[in-house]
């Protein structure tokens, strides 16, 4: 039986807040009899276990304690109460390029940064080529870091950080850096970690990332766990909380100011998706078989259809970020008229093979360029294939076996090309 990779029991972290340095001196002078500080609990009563090879995503508003939890687990600060244990080698990535020295070349910084992260000179020597290849900085690698653009600095920092091969990787929203090309590379690298059975713990404001990379998620609110469990469940809870939260805030404002504000708020007048769900045979359903017929219903509102004409797009993305398909009203030449409605997307005989699919529903402007809103379905779409075909889709096909079809003569240029 193997131990879980991360065990956390009742973890809490309090910061001491001193109103002024004088209060601290007073506290020292009286040997603590005069308490000059008050405590701020950034984190309290958090418990979870994460098995080896699993990944946990942290979500929550700014100041909810996500970074504090990661800092405690990364070992930069000690917990105030509770305890944790990490079984395996840890690498943490709280900030990219922390400790870079601007006057030294990228190559020299690779060494120094790696050694500062706790690796030996020999280990860094062995990984040097890999890091340089991953960063793809070309001849800049031998230039001083001060000549780098900020994106290049991030590239180098990320390359050093992922070159290490830990059992547990702790990341504070720093992957997906640089340009689109490098972002994809970063995500692939993280995904590769996961595939190789490494444990990943990270925080992100992107619920898509959490759903895509994580099996489990933890939603922190005010330093405490508001929900934890499967990433689909937790991100769903968090989304619906945010929605009611915003609605509540809106109600409070209109209660306070009466009707005055009704037309004033500009965001009120923007189009939005009210809800979107998947149905099979008239019933809501997120677990289907290949070949099932489904409907995706999207309820929308558009207070000013003349000023803001809209289009709706639906995408199917497998967990490894492969886009399997994208459908849109703008692509099919459909117009969404009126102030509200329900767009029903009928898909007979879904060809997708086994997998978990993210189904983002996107509200576009008329040209399909600007995104007004990206909407998450309450759950991921799980498809189970009944056959043993491989790949993303089942291709329509038929076999025929005959004996009377002769093979064509060999092509004249076949030998030359080889």
């Amino acid at each position: 039986m193997s131990l879980p990779a991360i065990e956390v029991e009742g973890l809490g972290k309090a910061y001491r807040i001193y109103p002024s340095p004088g209060r601290r001196v007073l506290e020292w002078a009286t040997l603590g009899a005069h308490k000059g500080h008050h405590e701020f609990w950034a984190l309290r009563g958090v418990s979870f276990q994460l098995g080896r090879g699993a990944s946990l995503g942290l979500c929550g508003a700014n100041g909810a304690g996500k970074s504090t939890l990661l800092k405690v687990l990364a070992g930069t600060t000690r917990p105030t109460e509770g305890r944790y244990r990490i079984n395996g080698r840890v690498a943490s990535l709280l900030e990219l390029g922390a400790g870079f020295h601007a006057d030294f070349s990228g190559r020299a910084n690779i060494f120094m940064n790696g050694i500062m992260m706790g690796f030996t000179r020999r280990e860094m020597q062995a990984k040097l080529d890999e890091i340089i290849a991953f960063a793809e900085l070309g001849t800049y690698i031998d230039e001083p870091v001060r000549t780098y653009s900020s994106g290049m600095g991030l590239r180098l920092g990320f390359s050093i950080a992922v070159a290490v091969d830990p059992d547990v990787l702790i990341i504070d929203e720093v992957f997906a850096v640089g340009d689109m090309y490098f972002q994809k590379k970063c995500i692939d690298r993280i995904y590769d970690f996961k595939q190789r059975g490494k444990t990943i713990l990270f925080c992100s404001h992107s619920l898509y990332d959490i759903r895509q990379l994580c099996d489990e998620a933890l939603w922190l609110n005010g330093g405490q766990a508001a929900a934890q469990g499967s990433s689909v469940h937790v991100t769903g809870e968090y989304t619906s909380f945010q929605r009611t939260h915003i609605d509540e805030a809106k109600r409070n404002i209109s209660a306070q100011f009466g009707g005055e504000l009704k037309a004033a708020s500009r965001s009120e007048a923007l189009p939005r998706i009210v809800d979107a769900r998947v149905y099979r045979n008239g019933e809501e359903c997120y677990e289907i078989k290949t070949g099932d017929s489904i409907e995706i219903r999207v309820w929308w509102e558009n207070p000013r259809p003349e000023q803001t004409p809209i289009q709706i797009g639906v995408g199917f993305m497998r967990q490894d970020m492969t886009t399997c398909g994208g459908i849109g009203t703008h692509l099919d030449g459909i117009d969404l008229c009126g102030r509200s409605g329900c767009a029903i997307l009928r898909m007979p005989d879904v060809h997708l093979l086994s997998g978990q699919f993210l189904v983002p529903v996107i509200l576009f402007d008329r040209e399909g360029v600007h995104k007004y809103q990206e909407f998450l379905l309450p759950e991921n779409l799980v498809v189970r294939a009944q056959t043993r075909e491989v790949g993303l889709f089942r291709l329509d096909h038929a076999w025929e076996l005959r004996a009377d079809v002769p093979a064509p003569a060999a092509r004249a240029d076949a030998g030359k090309k080889a």
């Binding site: 039986m1 193997s2 131990l3 990779a5 910061y15 001491r16 340095p21 601290r24 001196v25 080896r52 090879g53 800092k71 990364a74 070992g75 930069t76 600060t77 000690r78 917990p79 105030t80 109460e81 509770g82 305890r83 944790y84 244990r85 990490i86 079984n87 395996g88 080698r89 840890v90 690498a91 943490s92 709280l94 900030e95 922390a98 400790g99 020295h101 006057d103 030294f104 060494f111 120094m112 050694i115 500062m116 992260m117 706790g118 690796f119 030996t120 000179r121 290490v164 830990p166 059992d167 595939q195 190789r196 059975g197």
Partner: protein
Amino acid sequence: MTPGPIDPAAADPAPHTAPAGRWVTGASIGPADIAARIAGFPRMLFEHRDLVLTCVRRDLEARFKGTLLGFLWPLVHPLFLFVVYYFIFTKLLAQKLPEDVVKGRETTLAVYMFLGVAMWSGFGDTLLRGAGSIVDNGNLIKKLAFPAEVLPLVVALVNAVTFVIALGAFLIASCTPLWHLPSWDVLLWVPVLLFLQVLFSYGLALLLATLNVFLRDTAQIAGIFVTVWMFFTPIFWVPYLPGIRESIAPYLGWIEGNPMAHLLYAWRYVLMHAEPVEIFPHDPLVSVGVFALWALGMFVVGYSVFLLGKSRFADEV
């Protein structure tokens, strides 16, 4: 690739983080833990040798990077100092020590002051920069789980290297008619004194750096403290000169209590062996012993205070 079971003992933990597979709690450390950590200091240092050496080299390189003379600079500086002292005190002010008059030489006072200044400039810099070293590198401590005890040590070692370079300059000067080489058997004391000097300055810098995390006034106070201390240490004045000897006699007890006076006495004895450099009426070896006790005590105190404060560094910097 299927994950196998983790054997915590076999896993090679990244040295900066907690050992793999051990519970980490917020419990504060007790005297037994501190004693164990002090005893384990050499091992900790060995594990972090790459880090320490890299940081020392980086600090030195950063200081001279982009300059024309590069690594010749630490050599140029003390040589220049030596020439200036010689010119000012010996030529301009015609100051001579009694033995110079006897032996018909004139450089002793310049050498005397040069050694004092060369040693103190490194020591003072260790205290001043060391005091700020943890706060100034807050980003490393917060983001990289960096072993903070390394930071003041790097400052102390960088200054030790600079001092060794100054000693090199001194040896070069000794080959000229200006001075003469000290005898080789006495030079064997150089590494011992250097080690004790690093230990003492590191302990004190650790103490200041830790206090500075919690009370930023420490770095300011350290500035005043280092200057005052410098004047109370016989760097620019010669305690055994007639006139001075009588006037400091009532305060000799105070000077006895100044560890740096003992260290300087030993340094001057070693490097100016042939000359009588009596500050204290006892053998220089006694001063080495006294300073060794100071160094050890300062290290234990500084490191203990550091260990007590360490768990809150990331929250305070």
